[in-house]
């Protein structure tokens, strides 16, 4: 797939706050791309730069190889679906949707045709004459979406598109967004702080933190091969151990040498070991812990153990009901191949997880 947008070294400061710190990433033609990160990490700022409401202090943004920053917001083939939807309260649904087409000075008939087509697509044809305040949250969200896609932009930006909806509508809209993106074939960039949402929607995800891009990968790769401590901690649950490479494992003070895939790392190097709860086995292994909590979630059980010498609890996920009781002492462990080692210089090394 060819690159549609190429962002290089983009930085933006607001006074003391560095909202974006030399961000570089490429977005490919036709993909569903997600920006994922905790609140305040700079996602909205990056979107606003793409839409033209914010200018970077440094760096470049190219669309099809041409400088996008030189184009004023109203001439960019990029549309933004606002977090607040920003529907014009004094215009009906159809007027809102027609607004962007009228600015292109298209013939009336074509405008009318395209507006009714897109309202059909998002299932709001019956509500064309309503004002935004007469619609439900989910319906407003669809109007905002229709208003943006009717322009057939090269790139559609969606800022937390589902965050204002309640849980049930949210799940429906996730499916619908995905279907819509597939149908209209527009490149989508969606911003979210909800990792499950990003995982289920996107082809590729950029995880951001503190204005920096931590890792860009497909959802499965992100889960299985986190490349930074932040990603390992942020995506899904993980047991993290910091130590030094020693004798084919990771030596952690207080715990001894833990099984870890350290091939390729020099003896004595600082590194972080991440082990998913579902990879930890109970009953045998290198560590001994006391069960402090067992909770059953239908299909799986979560067991929390306190291990002498280890700061937090070690989490274990087992299929079905757990056969241990609170207060029991038990051995636990994992195969070296089931861990992921992240060297202190932030580059991931070998790991044995199946791809």
């Amino acid at each position: 797939m060819n690159t549609l947008i190429s962002i290089e070294g983009v930085s933006r400061r607001f006074g003391d706050v560095t909202a974006l710190d030399s961000v570089s990433l490429d977005i490919r033609q036709g993909e569903f791309f997600a920006l994922l990160g905790p609140s305040g990490c700079g996602k909205t700022t990056l979107l606003r730069i793409l839409a033209g409401f914010e200018e970077p202090d440094a760096g470049s943004v190219r669309l099809d190889g041409a400088d996008l920053l030189a184009v004023p917001a109203h001439r960019r083939p990029v549309n933004l679906m606002f977090q607040s939807y920003a529907l014009f309260p004094h215009m009906s649904v159809e007027k809102n949707v027609a607004y962007g087409l009228e600015r292109e000075k298209l013939p009336r008939q074509e405008i009318r045709r395209r507006v009714s087509e897109v309202l059909e697509t998002v299932g709001l044809a019956a509500h064309a004459r309503r004002r935004p305040h007469q619609l439900s949250g989910g319906q407003r969200q669809r109007v905002a979406l229709a208003r943006a896609i009717v322009k057939r932009p090269r790139l559609l930006l969606l800022d937390e598109p589902l965050s204002a909806l309640d849980k049930k509508v949210r799940a429906e809209m996730q499916l619908e967004l995905k279907r819509l993106q597939h149908d209209v074939g527009i490149t989508f960039v969606v911003v979210t702080h909800d990792q499950e949402e990003a995982m289920s929607l996107a082809d590729r995800i950029a995880v951001m933190q503190g204005g920096r891009v931590e890792q860009i990968d497909a959802p499965v790769a992100l889960y299985d091969r986190p490349r930074t401590p932040f990603v390992a901690d942020f995506i899904g649950a993980n047991n993290l151990f910091a130590g030094t490479v020693s004798g084919g494992g990771l030596e952690v003070s207080g715990l001894g040498v833990l099984p870890a895939p350290t091939a390729g790392l020099p003896e004595g190097a600082q590194a972080l070991l991440a082990v998913r709860p579902e990879r930890v086995r109970l009953g045998q292994g290198t560590l001994t812990g006391t069960v402090v909590d067992v909770s059953f979630y239908g299909g799986v059980s979560h067991v929390a153990l306190s291990v002498p010498g280890h700061g937090g609890h070690v989490l274990v996920a087992t299929q079905g009901p757990a056969r241990v009781e609170t207060g029991t002492e038990i051995e636990l462990g994992w195969d070296a191949a089931d861990g992921v080692v992240i060297a202190a210089d932030d580059a991931a090394v070998e790991n044995g997880a199946p791809v």
Binding site: A51, G52, F53, P72, A73, H74, R75, V78, N79, L80, F82, Q83, S84, A86, L87, F88, P89, H90, Y99, G100, R103, E104, R147, A148, K151
Partner: protein
């Protein structure tokens, strides 16, 4: 969970000053209105119902001149204040962060009218401008604008900048955005501000007193010269008419724009 709030109980004694306030505000007005329908020439004893004084009022030519002058000044200064004030409000909210400009825009509303009045008198005389309706009109624009700016800004404060950004995002130029999105969202604020400027100008006395030409008095100045000579039933009739007009305007404005929110 309509739980009765303990702090709300025992407020009985507050009712007294509450009703006293409204008695204080409305008793004098009520007396005027009743007296205006009194046949007697001495305004203090009831001599039967009559509309005589209203007839007398209609014949008073200096009141008519005053009214026409006032309307010219009020309409002109309202138009000017509304345009300048609306632009200023948009500029202050969207295009600058200067606190000095912000303070300057509200200064005429805070400044005592007497200070503004002497300032303009001194200024007009320094540039040797002849006084007339135009000098009052400009003077009223100075404070009318401050009120329009304040009211429109209050509205802009609630308005979401994302509406304007959405408009640009959909391909509208900044100018089209201003006309199609900014102004319509501001419309209630602009109407409220304009009504405010208009009523303030209609009633304004102190500044007009200092900046008018003796040959062209506004209505409040005509009233002032009548009132100075004491009580006449004619003024009661005039008062009743003016009260009716103001009450109607305020109630209509309240209905239209929920003026109290802007205040």
């Amino acid at each position: 969970m309509a739980r009765r709030e303990p702090a709300l109980r025992g407020n009985g004694w507050l009712r007294l000053p509450f009703w006293l306030t409204y008695l204080f505000l409305y008793a004098p007005i009520a007396v005027l209105v009743v007296m205006s329908f009194n046949r007697n020439k001495t305004p203090y004893s009831w001599g039967g119902f009559s509309l005589d004084w209203y007839g007398r009022l209609a014949e008073n030519s200096s009141l008519r001149t005053g009214l026409v002058n006032t309307l010219i000044v009020a309409l002109g200064s309202t138009a000017l204040s509304t345009v300048l004030g609306t632009l200023l409000a948009v500029g202050l909210a969207r295009h600058t962060r200067s606190r000095v400009l912000d303070a300057l825009s509200t200064l005429p509303a805070i400044l005592p009218d007497l200070v503004l009045a002497i300032g303009l008198l001194v200024f007009y005389s320094a540039i040797k401008m002849t006084l007339g309706l135009h000098s009052v009109l400009v003077a009223h624009t100075v404070f009318g604008m401050a009120f329009v700016t304040a009211v429109v800004r209050a509205r802009l404060g609630h308005a979401d900048t994302s509406l304007e950004e959405a408009s640009q995002d959909l391909g509208a130029t900044p100018y089209t955005t201003f006309i199609k999105v900014t102004l319509p969202t501001l419309a209630p604020g602009i109407v409220a501000g304009a009504l405010l400027a208009f009523t303030l100008s209609l009633d304004e006395f102190v500044i007009a007193f200092f900046t008018h030409a003796p040959s062209q008095p506004t209505l409040p100045i005509v009233i002032y010269s009548m009132v100075r000579f004491g009580v006449t039933p004619e003024i009661n009739a005039l008062a009743t008419l003016l009260l009716a007009v103001s009450f109607t305007v305020v109630i209509v404005a309240q209905r239209l724009t929920k003026l109290t929110e802007a205040l």
